[in-house]
């Protein structure tokens, strides 16, 4: 570490040193990296899109594109980028989501609570129903596989939890995770684009949106790209979605599925 080894004419060595330092202090490098990515995205938003697509939306989309070059943990599979999985991991994600609640209006939440809870159940039943129906239409006959695919249409956690509970084959479980991740990506990209059309510009609709869509990562990213003030309302209902769906899918909804399926 101590003294630099002839940086002048040994570029490879300099690169080594750079990656050594960056991967040693990976979280700090993640701060720098995300900061640069954000500023580049805001610049792109201003110059290329004249502010019509928010900088946050561009940054999130660029993040997804970069993740494609990585592996299971996205770009964090590269040692230099490992800090991103800490910065963007479940702990700091949930911590910063909770912090957005400071200053959120309790009366607004009380008023929209019933609609939010109804949306939660409707969202789970719709995702499970549509997912199962498509699975049947595309030739699946085993109810355990169909239910796992339907659960994958809820979130990428509900799919494997349901599949494990029902004893579905592992390739179906992997498929259900893929479905859940695709949902997250679609929600992230689609939300800011359709926000105007679906009236997503107030706390009430944000709570309904969070309940119906449910994927915390997608809702979090989608609202961040649309209007950061709506984040606490959407996130509040969305955070109950995965837990509720994990309860409903392998039990009640699976039972209903076996009743509905033709023998």
């Amino acid at each position: 570490m101590g003294r630099p080894h002839g940086l002048k004419n040994e570029i490879p060595k300099a690169m080594d040193l750079l990656t050594d330092v960056f991967s040693k202090y990976d979280l700090v490098f993640a701060f720098l990296f995300v900061g640069l990515l954000m500023s580049a995205s805001i610049l792109l938003s201003r110059i290329l899109f004249r502010g019509r697509i928010p900088g946050a939306a561009i940054a999130i989309t660029l993040g997804l594109v970069m993740a494609w070059f990585g592996g299971r943990k996205g770009v964090a599979d590269f040692p230099v980028m490992a800090g991103l999985s800490l910065l963007g991991g479940a702990m700091l994600r949930d911590f910063s989501i909770v912090s957005t609640a400071m200053g959120a209006s309790l009366s607004e939440i009380r008023k929209s609570g019933p609609a939010g809870i109804t949306s939660l159940f409707l969202g789970i039943i719709t995702a499970f129903g549509i997912g199962s129906a498509i699975a049947v239409a595309m030739g699946h006959a085993d109810p355990r596989s169909i239910a796992t695919i339907g659960a994958g249409a809820c979130t990428f956690i509900v799919g494997p939890v349901t599949g494990a509970a029902l004893g579905a084959p592992s390739d179906i479980i992997a498929l259900s995770i893929a479905i859940g991740v695709i949902k997250t990506v679609v929600v992230t990209i689609l939300t800011p684009l359709v926000a105007d059309r679906i009236g997503l510009d107030n706390p009430h609709t944000a709570m309904v949106y969070g309940g119906l869509i449910g994927t915390t990562s997608g809702v979090a990213a989608g609202l961040a790209a649309t209007d950061a003030r709506l984040v606490p309302y959407g996130a509040l209902t969305a955070t109950f979605y995965t837990g509720t769906a994990c309860l409903l899918c392998p039990s009640l909804l699976y039972y209903l599925l076996t009743v509905v399926l033709p023998r």
């Binding site: 943990k73 957005t100 400071m102 309790l106 893929a178």
Partner: protein, 126 residues
């Protein structure tokens, strides 16, 4: 002090997670049911009370606002660490279910938003 705000936020977060874990065990489910949601509710209710009673000043609150402002960067980092390759490799069924299921739920948003806003407690009949 800013750390008071951060500590207060942490207390709400942890209390919420405890509640979520407790609920999860109650239902014999490996994991957490709504821990983040409970944490948010606690922060709204306790935060409001603490501010009114003067327990949290502006300086302390700025510790919470820092994390609030870190939310978008955290989400960007999260996006960059998703398993996008697996999502793409899932094949047609994954794409059709992922997109189809999501679109169906999006279509319901304006409908549900309208139902609730008229104040009519709409009872869902299953």
């Amino acid at each position: 002090m800013k750390i008071y705000g951060v500590a207060f936020l942490s207390a709400c977060f942890l209390a919420g997670q405890l509640l979520g874990e407790l609920l999860g065990r109650l239902f014999h489910f490996q994991g957490n049911i709504g821990g983040v949601g409970f944490g948010m509710l606690l922060l709204i209710v306790w935060g409001d009370r603490a501010k009114r009673k003067g327990w949290i000043g502006e300086e302390s609150e700025s510790g919470i606002h820092f994390w609030n402002a870190m939310y978008i960067p955290v989400v960007v980092a999260m996006a960059a660490t998703q398993n996008v390759k697996a999502a793409v490799a899932g094949g047609w069924l994954a794409v059709v279910v992922g997109v189809g299921g999501t679109l169906a739920c999006f279509l319901l948003i304006p409908l549900m938003a309208r139902l609730g806003r008229h104040g009519s407690a709409s009872r869902s009949q299953e």
